[in-house]
């Protein structure tokens, strides 16, 4: 029973902004992924919840109770630090037993042993218990840090980039493991990451932070398919989303189409998008197109945009293709790996208007995206 509620949290380190006016509501047993680039205020958010730093203003509530005045030890919150923060003078066992020997969570040694060995088994480090910390690999240290957080059944888990120091392969398998663990534990968890894949695969919801502000709080699908702003769209997805300036053309009553990339090819927008655009009276828009949604078109296709091939990076099953459109803007496309392209050759591509993400040209905020595009993909 522990929901976490942040209300108007602000923390400045001297002049430097940590977070500003951050409000976040994390439900009981939810797995919340907090995503953002470096300096977004992710770690500050965790430290504020843990009580390691005190906010300039705002409140932190745990299970409905204001815990602003409590010491970190009294909050019953466990945290895994990015640096793991293991105690170098102890071995793995003593590191994991450390919280259980504290005055706060004290229990008899035989019980400690039971708990530590149980959780060491879960983390698959039970054969390393007598090892000093210096003799562990990064992956083993990370498991030890997780184990130390797990042993005392906290109300909330705070995980600060636990996978960032692991090599790519290990990161992948640990991600799967964390996902499994998350269902077993059923504890409220706040997971900070700068990797959008981690955020999307693990989080029940994703909170996108940048420069201390909350940009969007939504389900992983929504963050990806209906990003709140162009910035959010750019954070998620690799290669990065294509953003084009576009003009709206009204033709024949209720029809609205989009023109872009310096060509006279009207892309008729689906009716649900048209309806939103009409309500908002927007004239200037920007559109986002995900690279997998850019399709190479057969020659002679009347609806296709012309382009020259600028660069081609084969990545095995997929290849990244950068195209130069007629107006000089670059278009990134993700194409099948078995296709090969020659640089500087002419080609053409098409974009399904259902897949366009429409942003307001001025505020760069999300306006609309066709609903049926999401069910299809």
């Amino acid at each position: 029973m522990a929901s976490v509620e942040l209300q108007g949290l602000t923390k400045f380190y001297h002049k430097r902004r940590g977070v500003e006016n951050l409000s976040l509501d994390i439900h009981d047993k939810e797995f919340m992924a907090v995503f953002g680039p470096a300096g977004a205020g992710k770690t500050t958010t965790l430290n504020l919840i843990a009580g390691i730093v005190t906010p300039n203003s705002g409140t932190v509530k745990l299970g409905g109770r204001d815990i602003g005045g409590l010491e970190p030890a009294d909050r019953n919150v466990a945290m895994v630090f990015e640096s793991y923060a293991l105690y170098p003078q102890f071995n793995v066992y003593d590191n994991m037993a450390f919280p259980l020997r504290s005055p706060k969570f004290k229990m008899p040694e035989d019980k400690i042993k039971e708990r530590v060995t149980h959780h060491a088994k879960v983390m698959r480090i039970d054969h390393l218990l007598q090892r000093p910390i210096q003799a562990l690999s990064n992956g083993q240290r990370q498991r030890t840090a997780l184990g130390r957080a797990l042993v005392r059944n906290p109300d909330v888990f705070l995980l600060d980039e636990p996978l960032s120091h692991l090599d790519a392969k290990l990161r992948h398998s640990m991600r799967a493991e964390l996902k499994e663990m998350r269902t077993q534990l059923g504890t409220t968890t706040i997971y900070v990451t700068h990797d959008y894949l981690e955020a999307m695969s693990l989080g029940d919801r994703v909170a996108v932070l940048n420069q201390g502000h909350l940009l969007q709080l939504a389900s992983p699908d929504d963050v990806y398919f209906r990003p709140a702003s162009i910035d959010v769209a750019k954070f998620f997805g690799d290669p990065e989303v294509n953003i084009f300036d576009a003009t709206l053309k009204t033709s024949g009553g209720s029809q609205i189409s989009v023109q872009m990339l310096g060509e006279n090819i009207p892309l008729a927008l689906p009716p649900d998008v048209v309806q939103i655009l009409n309500e908002k009276h927007t004239s200037k828009i920007q559109v986002g197109v995900r690279p997998p949604d850019v399709r190479i078109a057969p020659e002679g296709d009347k609806q296709a945009f012309h382009a020259t091939i600028y660069s081609f990076e084969p990545l095995g099953t997929k290849s990244i293709l950068t195209l130069k459109a007629v107006d000089g803007s670059f278009v990134r496309a993700l194409v099948d790996g078995h296709l090969t392209f020659e640089i500087d050759r002419r080609t053409q591509f098409c974009i399904d208007p259902h897949l366009l993400i429409i942003f307001d040209g001025q505020s760069q905020k999300f306006l609309a995206r066709s609903a049926d595009s999401i069910e299809n993909s």
Binding site: I52, A85, P99
Partner: protein
């Protein structure tokens, strides 16, 4: 491979060791000379050959003097307590200077360091006057206090580097693990900086033990330390070089033994935090 088997390959290590040996001889010669002097009888004192009839008379004479033995004890008590006081004051100070960002942090740290800049002889007259007014001349506490000028800056600056090297995350982790700040300090932080504390404390002890100016001017008959006590063998009419050498040897012995015992900590401690800090 060729280099190792050739004549040059064989000569290389020999030459290297020979040079090192010669340098060691050069560096240690004053010490060796002191040891030799301490075993020489008075009449052979000024011979420049190394041939002499060894005798323990010098040691007998020095140890027979109640004053000198007492001064060794005095030095041990005063230096030991001075280091203890430095530890009590200096460890938290080093932590604060290493961890917290506050206005004037670097200025305060530099002020501590600057205590070591001025030669002792420069401040001894004002200090003497102050001590006279306070009635601290020839008191154990007075010497311990003034020795802080010697030991505290050293201790703070060595340990500061150690505390800076500890990630603040560790403190946060220990606090979340259910410990109060004081418990974190004693159970987690102090064990982590132990090599630094050992090295710094030892260095401080050596500097205090060797202190002469302060001990001479601010000490007195009841607090005479071994460094001051040795000068009694340098009377105006006769100088017993053998006695002086024996006394110096006896006074240096505790430091040498101490340094050898914790050599491992010393090297690690000094090369770990101090250089980086």
């Amino acid at each position: 491979m060729d280099r190792d088997t050739g004549i040059l390959g064989l000569l290389g290590p020999i030459l290297r060791n020979l040079i090192l040996f010669l340098y060691a001889l050069f560096a240690l010669f004053p010490l060796i000379w002191m040891v030799i002097l301490s075993f020489k009888p008075d009449e052979q004192m000024f011979t420049t050959t190394f041939i002499f009839t060894p005798t323990l008379d010098n040691f007998r004479a020095v140890l027979g003097e109640a004053g000198f033995v007492r001064s060794l004890w005095n030095n041990l008590v005063i230096s030991g307590l001075a280091v203890a006081l430095s530890l009590i004051v200096g460890v938290p100070a080093a932590y604060a200077l290493g961890r917290y960002q506050f206005k004037g942090r670097e200025d305060i740290a530099f002020t501590f360091l600057s205590f070591r800049f001025a030669p002792e002889i420069l401040v001894i007259i004002p200090l003497y006057l102050i001590y006279q007014k306070l009635g601290l001349i020839d008191s154990v506490f007075g010497l311990i206090w003034v020795y802080q000028l010697i030991s505290l800056p050293l201790l703070i600056w060595i340990l500061r580097g150690f505390f800076e090297d500890i990630s603040p995350d560790i403190e946060g982790a220990a606090q979340l693990d259910g410990y109060s700040w004081w418990q974190v300090f004693f159970k987690v932080l102090l064990p982590m900086v132990k090599p630094g504390i050992v090295a710094a404390a030892l260095l401080c002890f050596i500097f205090c033990w060797n202190a002469f100016t302060f001990a001479l001017q601010l000490g007195g008959a009841s607090t005479q330390t071994s460094t001051v006590s040795m000068t009694r063998f340098l009377a105006s009419d006769t100088v017993h070089y053998g006695w002086v050498a024996a006394a110096a040897l006896l006074a240096a012995l505790p430091e040498v033994i101490l340094a050898l015992l914790i050599q491992k900590h010393l090297v690690r401690g000094l090369s770990f935090g101090a250089v980086k800090g």
